[in-house]
């Protein structure tokens, strides 16, 4: 165990001084200041106008890249608050605002209230409020706070999930509900926390409830009326999982009939969770949607011998029919709660003399995967942070080589398994720059002492069994922010942070990358060197993704929600963890823009003669 810890430490250059960026000696050299480190590019479809932000990750490929460059390395140090907006809800804030035309759209965590803010008027006043009043029973069924990871705009509607298993569409102009559909039974455990993802006339929704013994599903709804076009269960018989003749996983151990049944004992697949609660991406050329599935249920692995397909896996599905094209189980028979739901960033890389269409996936299990997205072949799988559960991913089989010391045991404490349940990175989305060819991600550095317990399935209650104590990994810092080369599978630079970096990232056309910390710092770093160019302390920790947009005044703004919570709450007893909050901060150079100045007020003279000023009162 110790040897592998050291090896990983050396590999990742993890022992770095606080708040300074470091590069390993073998860092790739960019071809000049404007050159790419890797030659990687991305299809930015649907190619929205540069100043708009109409979907959570800005594009189908999930790059979170903005071409805006008005805020640049020379003026980023002058970023100041332009205006703020508090929504009053105290659960964790995990979504990014959307900007469509002159309107910004926000949705709170439970009770999932939507706001439209008018960016064309001083102070960005509220245009409308929509209150869906979700079922409060959902509060007791959401494992990791009562969160919502985002919302979508399409066809003049704001579309998003309610915690109580409804999806709603709201008229973007009036705030009136257009449709509301019920997708599951919250009393049995499933909730909806995922960010709805829209392509054309379809909205893609995945269920939550990895710790609740749910039966995970992913479905496509019609944007017009919300009716289900297709629905694919993760586990169970092939028919329900939409696995047919056109399903061609790259590795042989995932080939066979009804593996979603036979890789489980008895009928345990019915409570096997594998809920697709994370991000969705879309390739318009291949017409495939990509997403990952959660941990298997229960979390105690000795109760479910077998591979437990299709938990902790990636799926590529035909966007029209839902038929699975390929799948890849990242953590077979997951013993540590390594959900596979993190984002899949679709890029093109130079690979052995040709261009390959790949997806990059930072998994909770600590490996950064670069996978051929047409076939499911793993090209690169290297640790992007500290882990010791596997010595490597065998690229000939696609299987991890698990370290013996990392297997948990029932009623026995197994010490120092890295990472713990929450992973080396969680759902917090990374960003990709086509200018640098690098990905940027907030990562975690921690381990756990794990004791497992046998649990029974009781509908609507946790189906869990993991008792753990988490501690910081090597170096004592819980988190880092890294730049990653997806071709070589190596870090290019990293910034140490005190707590998990659980925010998303955005990278711009001026090579600035923005991220936030759980102790309330919002930062801009040079995307090429990792040098921090600007930081601003905010009122709560940050677990949402920043965005950048152009206002009606042609000014570039950067916006981020504060309000630490969600899974990040596992560190609530650590020094520096901030109280919750609910404020959206919007920044501009010098704080200029619609949120300040003297022009909003009109003073009326009430008397012709000057008013005499009384002398100041004397203090006794």
């Amino acid at each position: 165990m110790r040897k592998s810890v050291l090896a990983v430490l050396l590999l990742c250059g993890a022992a770095l001084p606080a708040m300074s960026a470091s590069a390993p000696a073998d860092k790739p050299e960019p071809k000049g200041a404007a050159g790419s480190f890797t030659g990687a590019t991305a299809n930015m479809a649907p190619n929205d106008p540069a100043g708009q932000w109409t979907r959570q990750a800005r594009d189908y490929a999930n790059t979170r890249y903005s071409p805006l460059a008005q805020i640049n390395k020379s003026n980023v140090g002058r970023l100041r608050v332009a205006w703020t907006f508090s929504d009053g809800q105290m659960y964790g804030h995990e979504g990014a605002p959307l900007v469509v035309g002159d309107t910004m759209y926000l949705v709170t965590p439970y009770p999932n209230i939507a706001y439209a803010l008018d960016l064309s008027k001083p102070g960005a006043p509220i245009k409308w409020v929509y209150q869906p009043n979700p079922d409060p029973r959902a509060i007791g069924e959401a494992c990791c706070d009562k969160v919502l990871r985002g919302w979508a705009y399409a066809d003049g509607k704001l579309i998003y999930n309610l915690l109580d298993d409804h999806t709603v569409a709201v008229d973007a102009n009036s705030g009136k509900e257009v449709w509301r559909v019920l997708l599951d039974d919250v009393s049995k455990g499933p909730t909806l926390t995922q960010a709805a993802f829209v392509v054309g006339d379809r909205v893609y929704i995945g269920s939550s409830g990895g710790e609740l013994g749910t039966n995970g599903w992913f479905q496509a709804l019609d944007v017009k009326d919300g009716h289900t076009i297709w629905k694919a269960f993760t586990n169970g018989p092939d028919a329900g999982a939409l696995i047919g003749d056109d399903f061609k996983p790259f590795y042989s151990w995932m080939k066979g009939k009804d593996l979603g049944v036979s890789s489980w004992p008895g009928e345990m697949w019915k409570q096997g969770a594998s809920a697709p609660w994370g991000w969705v991406s879309y390739d318009p050329d291949l017409n495939l949607v990509y997403y990952g599935t959660s941990n298997p249920g229960p979390r105690t692995p000795s109760q479910r011998p077998g591979l437990n397909l299709w938990s902790s896996a990636l799926f590529a599905r035909d966007a029209n029919t839902g038929h699975a094209k390929w799948a890849y189980q990242l953590t077979p028979h997951d013993e540590w709660d390594y959900d596979g739901i993190n984002e899949n960033v679709l890029i093109e890389i130079p690979w052995k003399g040709a261009r390959r269409k790949v997806l990059v996936h930072f998994d909770r299990n600590g490996f950064g995967y670069t996978i051929d997205r047409a076939t499911g072949e793993v090209l690169v799988a290297e640790p992007f942070g500290h882990q010791n559960w596997a010595s490597k991913i065998d690229l000939t089989t696609g299987m991890p080589v698990v370290n013996d010391a990392a297997h948990p045991a029932v009623e026995k404490k197994v010490e120092n398994i890295c990472p713990p349940d929450i992973g080396v990175k969680n759902w917090n989305p990374s960003a990709f720059s086509p200018r640098t060819g690098l990905l940027y991600a907030g990562v975690f550095n921690s381990c756990m002492d794990l004791t497992n317990h046998i649990v029974q399935y009781i509908p609507g209650s946790p189906y869990d069994g993991m008792e753990m104590v988490r501690h910081a990994g090597p170096g004592g810092n819980w988190g880092e922010f890294i730049a990653w080369d997806p071709v070589k599978g190596k870090r290019v630079w990293s910034i140490k942070e005190n707590l998990y970096v659980w925010s998303g990232a955005v990278v711009t056309g001026s090579d600035l990358v923005f991220y936030g910390t759980m102790d309330g710092w919002f930062r801009a770093a040079d995307a090429r060197t990792g040098k921090v160019l600007w930081s601003q302390k905010l009122g709560s920790g940050i677990t949402a993704a920043p965005i950048t947009f152009t206002g009606p005044d042609k000014r570039q703004y950067v916006a981020v929600y504060t309000g630490v919570g969600g899974g990040a709450g596992v560190l609530r007893r650590e020094k520096g963890f901030m109280p919750g909050g609910n404020t959206l901060y919007v920044f501009s150079v010098d704080g200029a823009g619609i949120g300040s100045g003297t022009t909003q007020l009109v003073s009326h003279a009430e008397a012709a003669a000057p008013v005499s000023v009384p002398p100041a009162a004397a203090h006794n």
Partner: protein, 112 residues
């Protein structure tokens, strides 16, 4: 441990007609009841929300000092049996009265 639970079930007073906030715990002062409650706390997935060390997670901390629905034995019993708004399910159809009282004993043994 199952033996413990059975033995305790036999000595408990006949099924209590109506538990109120003032009803005393029939297992008051019996360490074996708290131990049986410890087992039940895991078995009925209480730990999934309140954590194996009772310090909370999905559900509230059960080791702190002041509770919205009260910390007397009868009050804790009612919170478990009837459920509470904002997430606590009702357990009266899944657990026997004695099992609930044993879990009450365990929770009371862990309060600071």
């Amino acid at each position: 441990m199952i033996k413990f639970a059975l033995a305790l079930a036999l000595i408990a007073t006949p099924a209590l007609a109506q538990v109120t906030t003032e009803t005393p715990n029939p297992f008051e002062g019996k360490a074996e009841a708290a131990e049986a409650g410890h087992i039940l706390f895991g078995k009925f997935n209480c730990a999934g929300c309140h954590a194996y060390d009772l310090t909370g997670g999905m559900g509230p901390d059960l080791t702190d000092t002041s509770w919205m629905y009260g910390g007397k034995a009868g009050e804790i019993y009612l919170s478990i049996s009837e459920g509470r708004p904002r997430g606590m399910p009702a357990w009266k159809d899944k657990m026997t009265a004695d099992e609930i009282w044993q879990v009450v004993s365990y929770i009371q043994s862990k309060r600071q």
